[in-house]
Subunit: 341 residues, 2 copies
Amino acid sequence: MPRRKGLITTYGTLFAVKTLGRLGEREAIRVIDGIVNSKVEIGIGDDCAALDVGDRYLLITTDMMAAKTHVPKGMSPYDIGWTLVAINLSDIAAMGGIPEGVVAAIGITRGHPIDYLEQIVDGMNDCAQRFGTSIVGGDTKEHDSLTLCGTAIGHVKKDEILLRKGAKSGDLVVVSGELGTAGAGYFSLKRSLGLSEAEGVLKRPWPRIKEARVLASSGVVTSCMDISDGLSSSIYELSKNSGLTYEIDYASIPKAKEVEMAFHDTERQKSLVLNFGDDFELLFTVNRESEEELRRLSVKADCPFSVIGKVTSGEENILVDDGKREKLENLGYEHFRTRQS
Amino acid sequence: MPRRKGLITTYGTLFAVKTLGRLGEREAIRVIDGIVNSKVEIGIGDDCAALDVGDRYLLITTDMMAAKTHVPKGMSPYDIGWTLVAINLSDIAAMGGIPEGVVAAIGITRGHPIDYLEQIVDGMNDCAQRFGTSIVGGDTKEHDSLTLCGTAIGHVKKDEILLRKGAKSGDLVVVSGELGTAGAGYFSLKRSLGLSEAEGVLKRPWPRIKEARVLASSGVVTSCMDISDGLSSSIYELSKNSGLTYEIDYASIPKAKEVEMAFHDTERQKSLVLNFGDDFELLFTVNRESEEELRRLSVKADCPFSVIGKVTSGEENILVDDGKREKLENLGYEHFRTRQS
């Protein structure tokens, strides 16, 4: 590779190089998946890798956060630590898992005060404890900008695992909680709108561990993932995994009240609800006969579960909005590309 | 914390702040250990965390590498990927474990060509395969400088786990392979000395998975760790864990032939052998009656195991060199502080 790079520099053919900025994250992942000879059968392209350990799957997931690119201004070191653990636990939740432990690597500058590190670790520790697990190990390295990497492990009974694939045509599409909250929080922080509850959701994501366990043991969920990069992106992922299409009714999506406070413009509101992400809610499908059962599960989990559409065998994913049918574009957050709004 | 930071800026009391540069990595780890309420009983301060899963321990370890601070010039993206996996597997080896899988998070700039990422993943994949495991998942994020974080999991039977603690006074101190190779490789790269074999060891660390399994199942090893940050640092760690002292005979340390080629000065040679690190050899202790058994294990593992000293109940760790007894200072590599040489 250094040779190739040399050539490029020498002959100035920079525009011929397929950089990550041009290709985007999904293409990068496709390339990686093409190289890796993995022994795992379940978990490739899912929220966690799943290793067969007898009657259970061992779940493992990792997430890196670079403060400069992934941390909104206004987040305290405590929030950063909490978030690192929360987003990893959310991946365990997405597979229906029970967390077993989290390890965290912290890259930090030598100029950072030790209190800053302490508060990051406080946030990590509190989040892990809140969701029934703990920080079991880690690594601290010097870095020129604050960078955190968390890895969560968990387990799930084989017959309870929730995967991105598995939906059947006619299944109902369901979302937990409300969407747009974290996005509204992001713009509130950016423009000092004072939407403190929404800011709180952005700063301290809440992994749906308990709710996912209720769903996993119910037997009615046919596929599941967490919404980290936005609803439209998650619908795209489920569609890719099931080989089916999804028809979403915009009016049925539970929207945070702060969405209207963040933007007057309805198109921007819509973009917030569909594309922003960071809500870490569960997006899942259930058998079409399970609507009654879904209500019972919602009570049991103490969490709203809203039907927002259905699985179809159409040409493309559709958004029905105010009677109009439009293509539901995958406009969710993608790394290496510029953030919308 | 932001409040405190504000105060510091306002009143200019910057020198009162305990930064990581002033405190160093070991102090940072002490602070973290003080905060974390971990459920694990084994593995705090060890090479891996160990979770109790019935008849076995599940081992988990994580390591972050920032290209700017941890990657010597001259390493290809393939080497970087290989190294990330190797250093994590070395931690699994240090506990006597069998690797089960590796996840890797890659933070990379949008300007990097996709080939560069491909070669990193090639190196990761080849290293994992070479040591009987695979890359089971990962994360790719945008970062302003190349940053990799790997996490390896593995398992070990409860009665075979190798820990940093456990040595008894009179035990023999043993090292696998040779020391100073990676250090000689580092200076060879830096000064174009052409010591290609040593450079190879630096660029492609070789985790002692197979050798550690032979040791773990032998029953004669009383404590073990891998030498990532240098022999003097590892002796310090074993000493801290056992509450005992270590007496090392400099002449008995197996030294790479390249050490003399890298430096004429014997003091610099000595520093390379004692303090440089990156050799990823095993440092362990065995019962004093096990010298004969150690020779058999060395044949079985197809790896030199050299006795370099003994465990004592003295005042401090001692290096015996040319008849002189001197204190063996902990001068191994520590993050947040300037590298020696």
